[in-house]
């Protein structure tokens, strides 16, 4: 039987037990002396390290400086993906011949995991910002394109007929009818796209970067400082969540404005 909600107090208690149990096991394992504290720090060690990284530079910069570096790359790649993906998606939805030409090429490329572009990025851009941006683009682009295309293709026929009846040019039809109609789908795609883009960034920074959170983790790994690595993981997780929350707010505000 699908269980009804537990009383709030019980849920809170179980949550506490779950969290507490996890932290307890972790701490005991760390303190047991099986390994060094560098190798397996206690949760508290990680918190302390995180705070340290905020103030003291490691691998060249403080934590926030690294985060800023990462975010800048992410933003560039993401904005690029959106700037190319949305118009292309609209064009493909409106002009069948564009669809026929682009689709096969796109279908072929999208199965290459973004991370597999790293060697190419290294070849073309060295360690410049171009490398990570390319990889982020490769991660963020497909969802934007697909969602724009689908949203535009699924526009109710009556709007297209109304637009044609009203003499809309191709440009006006795409920008004033397809695009607004596809906005809910596009925004949903943006959320997925941002998530994939942020993930791809991490991968890129593990290999072709000299700053950023991924780079921080690599340096931490080289120094066998698990606390540093975990701090990096935490920072990445938090920023990823914040980006998603921001986009979800955007999605909700658009939905209310449209009266959906």
């Amino acid at each position: 039987m699908l269980q009804p909600r537990l009383p709030a107090a019980r849920t809170a208690w179980l949550t506490l037990v779950g969290a507490g149990g996890f932290l307890l096991i972790w701490t005991l394992a760390a303190l047991s002396g099986m390994t060094s504290r560098n190798f397996l720090p206690t949760p508290w060690d990680v918190v302390i390290r995180f705070a340290q990284l905020v103030v003291e530079p490691f691998a060249g910069f403080t934590l926030f400086q690294h985060l800023l570096s990462s975010f800048r790359r992410f933003a560039t790649g993401f904005v690029l993906a959106v700037a190319v993906g949305i118009p292309l998606g609209l064009l493909m939805a409106w002009f069948v011949w564009v669809d026929r030409i682009v689709s096969p090429a796109f279908d072929a490329i999208r199965f290459v995991a973004p991370i597999a572009w790293v060697p190419f990025a290294a070849l073309w851009f060295g360690t410049g910002i171009g490398g990570p941006v390319l990889i982020i683009f490769m991660g963020a682009f497909p969802p934007v394109l697909i969602n724009t295309y689908r949203g535009a293709k699924n526009v109710d026929r009556k709007y297209i007929e109304a637009a044609q009846m009203l003499g809309a040019s191709h440009f006006r039809a795409m920008t004033q009818v397809l695009l607004p109609a596809a906005v809910p789908s596009i925004v949903a795609g943006l959320r997925i796209s941002a998530g994939l883009g942020w993930q791809s960034l991490v991968g890129a920074e593990l290999i072709v970067a000299s700053s950023g959170v991924g780079y921080l983790m690599v340096k931490g790994q080289a120094a066998v400082s698990t606390a540093t690595v975990m701090s990096g993981m935490a920072a990445i997780g938090v920023v990823g969540v914040l980006i998603d929350i921001a986009l979800r707010r955007l999605q909700q505000s658009i939905e209310t404005r449209r009266g959906l």
Partner: protein
């Protein structure tokens, strides 16, 4: 992507034609007109040559099929373990509020961490071998399986549960006849995401450090500045990924013939 109500042969023909067109353009831009310098992008013939080299003679500690096998095997193992645990946990969390409440905190902690972010930690703890790869794949594939299986249970209609209760279905049968079939579509969505995550993560992990595997080819070719081999690596990654995704879809079609997808 366009819905092809046209004859499937015509669609295939157009796709092949487009592919040939791209190949021709590629050849022209690199070999004939020299618009793209060979340092930046290899010519089609060079890629063919690299392909032949790795398939026949071998490159970076092995022949192509050995690399492919290494990667595919690792992914499959990791995927099976991770999704097995993930689906079970997800179903349990969906079915029992107690389990859900207990596991939630740990899960919420793990969830925002991108799969690739586990790589440095795995390397610190387990080195550069198979174990580290498995660890990374596990955390990458585990999360989507849990989330989707959980969602799958939660979206089962109330009437199904009430019917089950009325018919006195309990215990193991309850799981087999009610929970799992009802959640199956979502479970498969989760499996698909898990497989993609597994594959991506493995290639990334191999890129960072490995002895063999497709990611390793990419890594070696990158260090050797061998663009043609990089392309061979990328195409291999794409093909394998595509094949596995379709393999999973085929399985899904056999397991759920009632699903109109």
């Amino acid at each position: 992507m366009s819905a092809s109500r046209r004859h499937p042969l015509l669609t295939l023909g157009t796709a092949l034609g487009a592919l040939l067109g791209v190949l021709l353009l590629w050849h022209l831009l690199t070999a004939v007109w020299g618009v793209i310098p060979p340092m930046r992008f290899p010519m089609p013939l060079e890629v063919a040559g690299a392909l032949q080299q790795i398939a026949v003679e071998g490159y970076s500690n092995g022949r192509l099929h050995q690399h492919v096998l290494t990667s595919v095997l690792l992914v499959t193992m990791g995927f099976v373990v991770a999704s097995g645990v993930g689906v079970t946990l997800g179903l349990a969390m969906g079915a029992s509020r107690t389990v859900e409440a207990l596991m939630n905190p740990v899960f919420l902690l793990l969830r925002p961490i991108p799969p690739l972010a586990w790589i440095p930690l795995a390397i610190v703890w387990l080195g550069l071998g198979v174990a580290a790869k498995m660890m990374v794949i596990f955390f990458a594939a585990f999360v989507p399986s849990v989330i989707n299986s959980y969602a799958g249970v939660r979206q089962i209609d109330r009437p199904m549960f009430e019917a089950a209760a009325m018919l006195g279905v309990k215990g193991w049968r309850y799981w087999r006849e009610v929970l799992i079939p009802g959640a199956l579509p979502s479970i498969f969505t989760g499996l698909r995401l898990s497989l993609q995550a597994s594959w991506t993560t493995l290639v990334a992990a191999e890129l960072v450090g490995a002895v063999m595997g497709l990611g390793q080819i990419l890594n070696q070719a990158s260090q050797d500045i061998y663009p043609a081999m990089i392309v061979v690596g990328m195409i291999s990654v794409a093909l394998c990924g595509w094949l596995m995704t379709h393999g999973l879809a085929w399985i899904e079609g056999r397991v759920m013939p009632w699903n109109s997808r």
